[in-house]
Each structure stands twice: as structure tokens, then as C-alpha cells.
Amino acid sequence: MSKALIDLIRQKFPADVLESHSQRGDDTVVVYAPRWKDIARFLRDDPRADMNMLTDLTAVDFPDRTPRFEVVVHLYSLSKGHRLRLKARVGDAAGTNAEIDTVSDLWASANWAERECWDMFGVRFKGHPDLRRILLYPEFEGHPLRRDYPADRIQPLVPYLDVPNTQKLPPFGPDEGMPFGRQTFQQGPSTDDDDVN
């Protein structure tokens, strides 16, 4: 069924399909990275493909290969019931300038998935509206799902953040937080009302 889908892409973009296979029935197309968004848009809009759902977007790191990262997208068509795995290879050996076009304007689900991919692998998505870290915190150093990130690496402590324009300091600031030890309440100056009670 969806072998036809691979043929369709080959026919439409003959120069941009690098590889394709159907291992275990999962149809896979590896495409030329700069053209990846055009192919994604074609797959979404063409009535023969009609891929209206982006199920998953992730990356796989192969440090030994020259385009280091494989950005992997799983597409699904609710009307036709077929699936396709679309891959593009980006990044040099150091992994510093891995860049690919965003598809978050084609499928809204790619928004968070691309943020996660940036967070975990350091693949930049050009044109993404809000490319922040999502699962980790902004001060995190490195991208943990890269193969060269040691699993036991200890991250530096995050320094105290002073937030401007807030009346209340965040907890555990320089002069706020849990006072340790037993608290003794200071007796206020006694008033005459005490005698009444």
C-alpha cells in the first residue's frame, strides 16, 4: 500500500530522495535536508498522501557519520491509514551547527517535539517560534541524549536568581527561606488589655 507512497515521493522529488527502505513494514524515506520542508508540505497537502498528523519527531545521534544527526519524523494519515517515516541528516562531527527547517507551522504537534529535540540533541529548528528547552532547565549545559554526553556527568549548581519587579523574593534567597533551629517568639510589649482577660 504505502510502497506507493515512497514511489510518489521519488517521482515528485527525484533528486532529493537519498535512501528508502521498508524494514518490518515501516516505510522509510531519507531526504536531502534542505528540501525536507518542501517534501513535508507536499506530503501534508497532496491528496494521495494526505498526512494530516505528525505522530512523532525525534532525532538519533550517530557520532561516527558525517551528517551526525538523523532527524526522524513519523507521519500518519487518518483518512488513508498509512504511515511514513521521514528522515533527514544534519550536523557536522562536533554537532555545533545542526540546523534544519521547522515543520511546526505545518503540524502544531511539531512545536513541542522540536523543542524537545533541541533540548536533548541540540538540533536547531530554523523558524521555530519559541525554541526553548522544554524538559530541562535553561542553565543546563550540553544536550544529554547525544552519544558523547556521559550519563554520569554532574551539572553545575544553578546560582541564586534575583527576579526583578517582584515584591516577593523566590524561596531560599539570601535572606529568606527555612529558618533552621527552634524558633523563639519574642514577647511583644504587654498591654493593659491582658489584665482584662
Binding site: 524494514q23 512523532d56 538519533v60 487518518l78 503540524w107 504537534s109 536533548m120
Partner: protein, 404 residues
């Protein structure tokens, strides 16, 4: 005293109109799991918001790359901790797809029965918690009681209430216990009774309906674009259920309906889960009927399944087989595979990349919750502050699965 009717410039009596920043979570009773929502309020309506996840990130995908394939099971248990059995089976199916093996029929029926029980516990938790957050505490207690029964049954079967690690590549850790069928029947019957009571208590309740109806509407095209699956997508009227659309195991042979909603509001999401609970009971009945009382549960492939202990201690073949699997790990052929099943919240996918050694090269868990929570921003922007709680509750965000 100043005269009351003094002339005032209208601009002076205007209240300050700056938007107010409100932070909810990450530790807030209405935030299941840990999620933080930063909202910019104008009066009571939400102008902008930012949903922040990741507080429960434990780096499972990284940890999976360190052990062998069977050591992944405990991690997937802790993803969706309300229905761990579904995750276990989903991961086992992904490995089996890469290996190209199929488990015996008895195991498939057993996996389905346990999986549907886990799905029931998932939906009971979601609907119960949703009702509780809106002030209906009694249904929550009833439903949690039902969930406890499922967990007791799971404990009887697997030895653990919550994190069973019961799935194996090529089968299950144990065959069903002799009393399983009887107990499962009793539990489902009891839970159906609970659902009836909950329906009678909640569905005619004006307060409950006012909080849910017409709140958090997500049209079908938007839900598809957001990558929503499972009950949330079906509430928007899209009849996509992996069990029906792409039957795996024996789902093609059982009879069940896929309930869909009409408007995609919170009430539809609540009702879809209630309706699915009844369908789960139907599936469990059919599974128990077809589940054989004897026969093999595991595949008979010595490269995949550990031999029985009596063989390990008495024969050299058994010892070697045990040693190879334990020391070198299960060897999955090189390649990649994407396997998808219907989890508690939608399509639970596993994208496995293997390099042919005993260690996983990459295990990508496609969590349904992550994409559903990704749509929360669209659901609550423009809504009222009080609508956040039912909207968020109806999405059933499970922190462990969303953050992994």
C-alpha cells in the same frame, strides 16, 4: 468630610489595568503530576499562558542506552504509572516486531486482558480526579476503590501493585494464576456497578454540567494538528483508535465499539472515558472466554526466552542459554522499528534503533501525554481562570509519561 458627589476625572477612578501574572504549580493540588502554568490574567480571563513541563524528567531514554533490552521494562513501567501494564506490553511488542516473532495465542489473550484492566484503572483515575477537582469527592472515592481492586488483582498476578515489570520480550514473566479469570470477572462486574452509580450521581448534576459543558472545546482539525490521540481525539469526533484502525494482538477478533464525542469539550472527554470503561469490560469478558487454561505463554525460541530454572540447574544447554541471555543480553537485529499501540491516553509508540549488539542504540518513547499537554496552551488561552482545572483534568496528563 469630603462631598460624595465631587467631580472626578473618569480616568482617575479606573482600576489599574495591568495584566496580572499568576503562577500555578508545579506543586498544586489541581496539577496532576508536576506541571507549571504561568498565566497572564486580565480580570479573570487568560490572555496568554505558558505551560512548562519537565519537572519529572528522569532521563529514561538516556538510561535505556546503558543496559540491555530487557532492562528497559522497569523504565517503561514508570512512564505511565497509572497503567504500567500497557507500557510493558507496548515495549514488548516493539521488540517482537523488530525480532519478527509472535507470542503464542494464550499470551496474547492474557496481555489483552491485563492491558484492558490497566486501561480501566487509567480511565477511573482520570474521571475520578476530574470529578474531585470540581468538588465531587464521593465519585472519586468510589472510582479509586475500583482502581484498588484492579491493583489488587495485578498484585495477585504480578507480585507488584504498581510497577510490575511483568512483560518480557517473547511472552510474560508468569502464566496466569488459576484464579485469574474468576477474579477478573468479579472485578469488572464490580467496576461496572461503580460506573453506573457515578453516572447517576454526576451526569444529571447541574453544577457538574455547568463546569464542563462548552468548556475547553477543541475542534477535530485542531486536535489532529496537535497530534492528539486517544480519548481526547475521539472526544473531538475523530474515530481513531489504534485497536480498531490497526489491530494488533487479537483486537481484530474481539467486538467492541469506539465511542466518539461531538463537540470536543471537557464533558465529551469525560463521557468518552466513561463509555470506554464499559467497552473495556466487554473486551475483558471476551478475552477471558478465549484465554486457554493451559498451553505455552512464552515463545519457544531459546535465544529470546530464559529457560525454566529446573533446566538451568540440571542441563548444560539450559545453563549456557541462561548465561548467554543474562550476560550478553537479548540481541535484537540491527535496524529500526516504530511500533504503536493504544495506551491509556492515546497512541503509545516505541521507536527503537538497534545496532545489533545487546544494548539499545536508541529507545524513543512516543508519549501520548506530551502531545496532549502541548495543546493545553491553545485550550486555555482566552478561557476563564476557573476553566483551567476541568480542562487540564480532562486531558489526563501523566507527569511520568510526559516528562519521561
Amino acid at each position: 468630610m469630603e462631598p460624595i458627589d465631587q467631580e472626578l476625572d473618569p480616568s482617575e477612578i479606573e482600576l489599574p489595568a495591568e495584566p496580572m501574572l499568576l503562577n500555578v504549580g508545579p506543586a498544586h493540588p489541581a496539577m496532576h503530576g508536576t506541571v507549571r502554568i504561568v498565566m497572564e490574567l486580565s480580570g479573570e480571563s487568560i490572555e496568554r499562558c505558558d505551560v512548562q513541563v519537565g519537572y519529572l524528567h528522569r532521563g529514561f531514554e538516556k538510561m535505556c542506552e546503558r543496559g540491555n533490552w530487557s532492562q528497559v521494562f522497569p523504565y517503561v513501567d514508570r512512564c505511565n504509572y497509572v497503567s504500567p501494564m500497557l507500557n510493558n506490553v507496548a515495549f514488548a511488542l516493539a521488540c517482537e516486531k523488530l525480532l519478527g516473532i509472535e507470542v503464542p495465542e494464550r499470551c496474547q489473550w492474557y496481555r489483552m486482558a491485563l492491558g484492558e484492566l490497566a486501561r480501566m484503572s487509567d480511565h477511573l483515575t482520570c474521571d475520578g480526579a476530574m470529578a474531585m477537582e470540581l468538588g465531587a469527592f464521593t465519585p472519586f472515592l468510589w472510582m479509586i476503590k475500583g482502581r484498588e481492586m484492579i491493583w489488587d488483582l495485578m498484585e495477585e498476578e504480578t507480585g507488584a501493585r504498581l510497577t510490575h515489570s511483568f512483560g518480557r520480550v517473547g511472552g510474560m514473566a508468569q502464566p496466569p494464576t488459576p484464579g485469574f479469570k474468576e477474579q477478573a470477572k468479579a472485578v469488572t462486574k464490580h467496576i461496572l456497578g461503580i460506573i453506573d452509580e457515578v453516572e447517576r450521581l454526576l451526569i444529571g448534576n447541574r453544577i457538574f454540567l455547568d463546569r464542563l459543558e462548552g468548556v475547553g472545546i477543541v475542534p477535530a482539525d485542531e486536535a489532529i494538528s496537535l497530534g492528539w490521540t486517544g480519548p481526547c481525539l475521539r472526544a473531538s469526533g475523530v474515530p481513531y483508535d489504534v485497536r480498531k484502525s490497526h489491530p494488533y494482538m487479537k483486537y481484530g477478533e474481539v467486538e467492541f465499539d469506539v465511542p466518539v464525542g461531538q463537540t470536543g469539550d471537557c464533558f465529551d472527554r469525560f463521557m468518552v472515558r466513561i463509555a470506554e470503561l464499559k467497552q473495556c469490560a466487554r473486551i475483558i469478558d471476551q478475552c477471558l472466554e478465549r484465554l486457554a487454561d493451559s498451553g505455552p505463554v512464552n515463545v519457544s525460541d531459546p535465544r529470546v526466552i530464559l529457560p525454566p530454572k529446573s533446566d538451568v540447574y540440571s542441563t548444560i544447554e539450559g545453563t549456557i542459554q541462561h548465561f548467554k541471555i543474562v550476560m550478553e543480553g537479548l540481541k535484537l537485529p540491527a535496524g529500526e522499528v516504530y511500533s504503536y499501540t493504544e495506551g491509556g491516553n492515546g497512541e503509545l509508540g516505541f521507536y527503537l534503533v538497534s545496532d545489533g549488539s545487546g544494548t539499545p542504540y536508541r529507545v524513543r518513547i512516543r508519549p501520548p501525554c506530551f502531545f496532549i499537554t502541548g495543546g493545553l496552551e491553545r485550550v486555555i488561552t482566552g478561557a476563564m481562570m476557573a476553566d483551567v482545572v476541568p480542562s487540564f483534568g480532562s486531558l489526563n496528563m501523566i507527569g511520568g509519561e510526559c516528562d519521561r
